[in-house]
């Protein structure tokens, strides 16, 4: 007589150390093998889109900060670009350079958190704190520029709120000098650690066609082997002026598109961002950063979808204007939101420990998933 067996339903989160915020995953287990994953989101839903309908265009910017709170600068950036495109505003060149420098610093900061917390998920505590030490330095640079360390409200429609601090460029250069060797430190400490590779290589493999079909973007898509970066393939701002590479997953220690690749693409991107910042510091012109800020932001009737390469992937703003002071609709295409929907596909047949590894590798921020 066969023994009657039942699947174990394990509820992971919303209070769980590795769900990167308040995410609830409903795991259906057979022993320790995962049969299906059902993500439940919405615990951090702060009605961004509803709020946006009642705000004027500049008032929305602080709200965009709070979506992907690890990459606030880039959220401002994307939003400002969308409204500028809608209103057809030409921003001064200096502003473009400042935005790119800020954006790339933010990318480094965001990737540092992603890499560090990923180590934490795998059980390595120490790299996390090393990376946070470096991130603090970037946050200090931001603080010096706009007074805030996490939620900046810095990039405005048509410009930026303040010009750079006189020491900013020098200190940024110093930071680059300081930070560059630390990338090797990360690699020695974590990336090429045998246990780390064992845990992440060949785990959660995302084939390219699945990745595209699920709308994965950013490092997650590149790790699956597609050289696609909006900064190169759909250039916005002044990214076409810089020379940088797009790292893609190569399956160096496992299969293309596994957790290790997704992790390593982020590590490689640190170097590319440093390269962009260096070039931008060399070329930055003088100018008035607030000159093009419109007195009244009142875009014409119409709709626009603008996308930028946020550290997590493609951040899109879909804005519909009826010609008034408030938008009719602001929809955010959040990269984490889209990336999270692939969880079920990735986790089938994995172990419980792998779920943590996979969730960490797609690098989600719940503030952005729930908005």
């Amino acid at each position: 007589m066969a023994v009657k067996t039942e699947e174990l339903v394990l509820n992971m989160g919303p209070q769980h150390p590795s769900t990167h915020g308040v995410l609830r995953l409903e795991l259906e287990l057979e022993g320790e093998l995962v049969k299906s994953v059902k993500p439940h989101i919405g615990y951090l839903h702060r009605c961004f889109e509803k709020h946006a309908e009642a705000m004027t265009y500049p008032q929305i910017i602080p709200y965009t900060d709070r979506m992907d709170y690890l990459a606030s600068m880039y959220n401002n950036f994307g939003y400002a670009l969308a409204v500028e495109k809608l209103m057809d505003i030409e921003v001064p060149e200096r502003v473009e350079y400042i935005r790119v420098i800020m954006g790339e610093l933010q990318r480094i900061a965001s990737h540092l958190v992603a890499i560090g917390t990923y180590g934490l998920d795998i059980g390595a505590f120490t790299p996390f704190l090393y990376l946070f030490r470096d991130r603090e330095k970037i946050l200090s640079l931001f603080e010096m520029t706009c007074g805030a360390r996490l939620l900046y409200n810095y990039i405005w429609v048509g410009g930026v709120s303040h010009d750079l601090h006189p020491d900013f460029l020098r200190l940024t250069k110093e930071f680059i000098e300081y930070f560059r060797p630390n990338v090797d430190e990360i690699n020695n400490l974590l990336t090429f650690n045998k246990i780390f590779i064992e845990r992440t290589a060949n785990v959660g493999v995302l084939p390219l066609d699945t990745a595209i079909n699920y709308g994965m973007t950013g490092p997650n898509l590149r790790a699956s082997g597609l050289k696609f970066d909006l900064r190169k393939d759909d250039p916005y701002s002044i990214y076409d002026k810089f020379d940088f590479d797009i790292p893609v997953g190569e399956g160096m220690v496992g299969t293309v598109g596994d957790c290790w690749d997704r992790y390593f693409v982020r590590v490689l991107e640190l170097e590319q961002s440093l390269k962009i910042i260096e070039q931008a510091i060399e070329q930055i012109p003088d100018g008035d950063v607030t000159a093009a800020i419109p007195k009244r932001v009142k875009p014409p009737k119409g709709s626009i979808y603008t996308r930028v390469e946020n550290p997590k992937g493609e951040l899109g703003y879909f804005i519909i204007s009826d010609g008034g002071l408030n938008p009719v609709r602001v929809k955010v295409r959040a990269p984490s939101f889209v990336a999270l929907s692939v969880m079920d596909e990735l986790c089938k047949g994995a172990l419980v420990a792998d779920v943590v590894a996979i969730l960490g590798s797609i690098d989600i921020v719940l503030g952005e998933v729930d908005r």
């Binding site: 919405g42 495109k85 699945t210 595209i212 699920y214 709308g215 709709s303 979808y305 609709r329 889209v338």
Partner: protein, 177 residues
């Protein structure tokens, strides 16, 4: 690389005119209006056609078009003629690097649109969100549940509708606290 106009021409040759409409008078982005019952076949065509290959659904947004018509008769009674809801699809082809925007308009009292979930998996969650927030029902969607709002949120109450009003109670708790 094809412009939206060319894509519109191609679609017009494939499908009858009645389901399509090109909207280009707006200053910023052009889009093609598609009838709700045909969006699936149009999407499939756009994705599978070798010269188009729209393999990436960048964004899918549901909106309330804010066009309810209110009329007040002599006695002061208001009658509301419900307006329309829309779903916007922003498509992109990685291979050809071209984009096209589609729009589906439905009446508020019968907001039913065909799902494109089995063409682009991205649509799964985005459609759930549009359902949750705007109340558009996607036909043939495998798992149409609320996504951001609590699962037990009041039936038929969709926060992003322009005529939405905060409920007084949620599960016995007073809402405006």
């Amino acid at each position: 690389m094809r412009t939206p106009e060319e894509i519109y021409e191609m679609l017009k040759n494939q499908f009858s005119d009645s389901i399509l409409e090109f909207e280009s008078e707006l200053p910023v982005e052009k889009f093609i209006n598609v009838s709700p019952s045909q969006i699936h076949s149009v999407s499939k065509y756009l994705k599978d056609h070798l010269d188009l290959q729209f393999d990436c659904l960048m964004c899918l947004s549901g909106t309330d078009d804010n066009n309810d018509e209110k009329t007040t008769d002599e006695d002061g009674n208001e009658t509301v003629v419900p307006g329309t809801l829309s779903v916007y699809y922003n498509l992109h082809s990685i291979k050809y690097n071209h984009k096209v925007n589609l729009r589906v308009k439905v009446q508020k009292d019968k907001p039913e649109v065909e799902s494109v979930e089995n063409i682009w998996k991205t649509a799964n969650w985005h459609e759930r969100e549009a359902f949750d927030m705007i109340g558009i029902k996607f036909l043939n969607h495998p798992d149409l549940r609320r996504i951001l709002m609590p699962e037990d949120w009041e039936e038929g109450s969709h926060p992003l509708r322009k005529d939405y009003e905060n409920p007084e109670f949620y599960q016995g708790m007073k809402v405006p606290y």
